[in-house]
Symmetry: C2
């Protein structure tokens, strides 16, 4: 085996990794299991188990209903601010945590579209790329149908992802809102968010970014991009736990203009007045509806503290190093078996995962799982290798790619 | 002090309570604190703290993404079925857990209204009572405005609650859906759900029940009532924790007819296909949208197991005994200070809480909190005494009402 693929090289990369100590804070990171799916569900932090236990006994059980006055009520906004600052490049008062990504996406797309149509009835198009995450496409199609509006699809090359030019060609005087993913869930392609946002604005549209596959792995700069709206989940690189609450960002300049359709007590100007009519809150709280789970927000708080301690630049540097290493190993170990790297080779255009394609990848995934090597499979023929920067080592990455080689060899 | 209000009587009532042993399973139930707010946020079970700890370490941390295939994906339906069987009188396949009550209410009212308008464009009215819980009113008003429909308000006497006659007078050929609370959040009035459901059906409307203030305290029989739709929360008498996921019920006969507007991956006919178009799932799963919190559903599972062990009939018997005792004590201890029982005196028309009114109740509530007696306050002038059947004792109830008397005496 060449130096490039040697165990010694993986060990030296791990030894030189400034974030190496953090890995041991995650449950199970030191077991033999190779986890390549932190981009679907991040590992828990050890401290989150203890925090949940003490939350139940001390906060919920000890403070009971008083907990709402003592911090829980503000939590969607305080955790939102923390998330915005640590991972989104968002100033305070623009990020809120609650609901699922799907529900927040529905609320924000509705808010944007309804606003645009009110201002100019000709702005009735929602622009979305044809390879966007299914939920994004389903939500947008449903809204277009119910509002009598249209969807304009940008047909994208799955490996190349959506470009500024494609967006520029798709937007115009009919554009209400453009819904795109920052990192493509299939290929890991990283979009030129500032360039695309500017192109959307030139056409008079609003730019809504889905950050599910970037937040916590790729630095995001919503304020700097001039983004209008964003949503994302917290269970991938933010390790919030299965189904943990999502987040929404609404740029301050839009908060007074936009209203969302699900009018609940948490979004009311005076939630405890319980008055006769609904009046939306000033600020970001108007994008909340019902009561979000306080319990489900606890692990996220631990991970945000760790990301903040490590720093997003260092997290991105580790992410780039891991994905670059995975690409190198794929070329060296798997290319001769017909495996192709379907993700961008330019690290500057790549998110936190690498997709490898081969006609047998569905079967390969099943066999890898049986050996405690856990990537995931995405049509067509894609093995997705998610490399959660704070919990994945170079040695683990190498073991996983060697396992792919063995499984492919056994299948052929 | 008379025999009626004596400590000895409270003790003998506790000694004769067949559910008395269950109280000690709740965190903090044996401390001196008097908790009269289990109807807003139930106490945690001790076992839930341990379950969450082990969930993080073993299920989330140990199974990682594999957990979705091993039970998490089905959880909204399996916990829904358990909830339906143990507390709602609902056959399997009709109850789903996820989202907040507000979001589920939005989805079900939209589904019902859109269906009715499609079938008969003249059916454009949502009927709701004027004293329904604020979120219900806000959701309904928002939907009526966005769909170009109307709200018909039933003006109710806050102490008497909504009657069959009032509903009959309000419904007709314009009625699309009727949204009412089974137990009124202010007075605790228990509606005649089967009678009202029948009256709604006679007029061709759909009946949607908000069960937030009844589920887990008052037996519910959705299938027997012929109810069409229902929603409710799980953090009151079902002790799911602050902001725990809500539930929705859709009668089997409607599931193929109704579609909800928030089209997400969890509601898709084939969620893992991730295909180009949205096709709603067969059955109750179509009412889901995004990923619900698996973590936040864990405490609910513990409480459902306990409710099932105790049996809803025994829970209701204890609830009636506790609220009847509270009414007796209020008459004996507080009437001479001008306190009035604002809840129905007929236990058969009363839910799990008792509301006492007095011009000073806002101030009384604040002083009680300072003494670790925790009721809540609701306008106008109402002290709400929530008596969670499985975690509240007669002695605790007596201590709380004596404290109200002392505080009122100190204020006068």
């Amino acid at each position: 085996m060449s130096d490039l693929t040697s165990a010694a090289r993986a060990e030296s990369l791990d030894a030189a990794d400034p974030l190496r100590a953090h890995r041991h804070r995650f449950v199970g990171a030191d077991t033999g299991l190779v986890y390549f799916d932190g981009n679907s569900l991040g590992r828990p932090l050890v401290v989150s188990a203890d925090r949940l236990h003490s939350f139940v006994v001390e906060e919920w059980g000890g403070r009971l209903i008083r907990g709402w006055d003592e911090g829980w009520f503000a939590l969607p906004l305080t955790v939102g601010d923390e998330l915005g600052r640590a991972t989104l490049g968002a100033g305070p008062g623009q990020t809120v945590v609650g609901d699922s990504t799907t529900v927040l996406l529905y609320k924000l797309v509705r808010a944007a579209l309804d606003h645009q149509v009110r201002a100019d009835p000709a702005r009735r198009e929602i622009v979305v790329d044809s390879d966007n995450f299914p939920t994004d496409r389903y939500v947008v199609e449903g809204i277009a149908a119910e509002r009598g509006c249209a969807v304009r699809w940008i047909e994208v090359d799955r490996a190349a992802g959506v470009s500024v030019e494609q967006v520029r060609a798709a937007v115009g005087p009919a554009t209400a809102v453009v819904v795109l993913s920052h990192v493509a869930y299939r290929s890991g392609h990283l979009a030129d968010a500032p360039g695309i946002t500017a192109a959307v604005h030139e056409a008079g549209g609003l730019a809504l970014w889905d950050l599910c596959h970037s937040v916590g792995a790729v630095p995001v700069a919503l304020d700097e991009w001039g983004a209008d709206l964003a949503v994302g989940c917290t269970y991938k690189y933010l390790n919030g736990g299965p189904g943990s609450p999502a987040f929404a960002y609404v740029a301050e300049r839009w908060q007074a203009e936009l209203t969302q359709p699900i009018q609940g007590w948490m979004g009311h100007a005076d939630p405890f007045l319980m008055g006769p009519d609904y009046e939306p809150s000033v600020g970001i709280r108007r994008f909340l509806s019902g009561t979000p789970s306080v319990l489900a927000m606890q692990p996220l708080r631990d991970m945000l503290a760790l990301v903040d301690e490590a720093g997003m630049d260092a997290v991105r540097a580790k992410s780039v190093a891991l994905t670059s290493y995975a690409v190198e190993l794929a070329d060296a170990l798997l290319a001769d078996a017909g495996v192709r790297v379907a993700s961008p080779r330019d690290a500057g255009r790549r998110g936190g995962h690498v997709t490898l394609t081969h006609p047998s990848m569905r079967e390969v995934t099943a066999r890898l799982w049986a050996e405690d090597v856990i990537p995931d499979y995405r049509d067509p023929e894609g093995l997705r290798i998610g490399l959660s920067p704070l919990s994945t080592s170079f040695a683990e990455t190498r073991r996983g790619l060697l396992a792919v080689r063995e499984v492919l060899a056994a299948l052929s």
